[in-house]
Subunit: 150 residues, 2 copies
DNA sequence: GCTGAAACGAGACATGC
DNA sequence: GCATGTCTCGTTTCAGC
């Protein structure tokens, strides 16, 4: 994980369709060397996968909400229960009053209500506090150059 | 945005490196037709970009936190101020007591504290409530088949 | 571990349906 | 709007440094 790797990661985040020749040029490498570096980054799991960013509104998911989930028991083994809800995009165990924080996208507020109902049905869940997003300023990937000490 | 487009989007989200031949096969199309569909999805902005998913821990961002930002004035024009902080990955205006919700990744809790300090320095911000994530169950992209009415 | 070149496979495009 | 075929370009691999 040197500076060159960081440049490669930043470049690929911006545009993963660019050629290894262009990638190498940005990092000061030949196409072959760039390819080898990227292959190793994938192998080591630094690059988890190559994917596309989809416009949520275009696929009918205009409503974004964060939900604090209160519970009466330890929620450490409930990952699968949340993962089973396709509208739940993230689920985290948090430090604080509520025990789980989830990010949810739905087409309508009615559907959001339905998701909350299904979250409530999960074992140990005693309550939910939903916070609806009115406007998203931005959502962006982690920038590798933000952290420079690994 | 028919069923075929949804299959293409779901396939590309899982693996954007697969060939158009494989993509077409999954959707019941030829490689050329699949290519044309994807080109139009990009053109229309449904596909925003092709990117990579990076392991946050591997680039030295092990700490994840959500921060509720309280304010004394309208925060609708403060998008740039939050975007200037590279550790801030998302910023949303929310309905509720606090006015802005941001997602932050840093290497250490000390760095998180520094980000909070810089958020506090933004015009109109009167307070912050940070919630630190202890364990992430999962983070995944929006599944196009979750919404079927566009 | 990088460079440069050579073989292979995929992407882009035109034609016809 | 999709299928087929051709040409071009990028990816991938390997010898050499």
């Amino acid at each position: 994980m040197d500076h060159i790797d960081r440049v490669l990661l930043a470049q690929l985040q911006q545009d993963a369709t660019q050629s290894y020749a262009a990638l190498g040029q940005a990092a000061g490498l030949s196409a072959g060397a760039a390819h080898e570096r990227v292959r190793k980054l994938r192998e080591r799991g630094v690059i988890r996968r190559t994917t596309i960013e989809v416009d949520p509104a275009a696929v009918g998911s205009a409503v974004l909400a964060y939900v604090l989930v209160d519970s009466t028991s330890w929620m450490g083994d409930s990952a699968d229960a949340f993962a089973a809800l396709s509208e739940v995009l993230e689920a985290h165990i948090i430090a604080g009053s509520a025990s789980v924080l989830v990010k949810v996208r739905t087409a309508t507020t009615e559907q959001l209500q339905d998701v909350l109902r299904r979250i409530y049905a999960i074992d140990g869940v005693s309550g939910t506090q939903a916070t609806v997003v009115l406007e998203t300023f931005f959502e962006r990937p982690l920038s590798p150059q933000a952290a420079d000490q690994t």
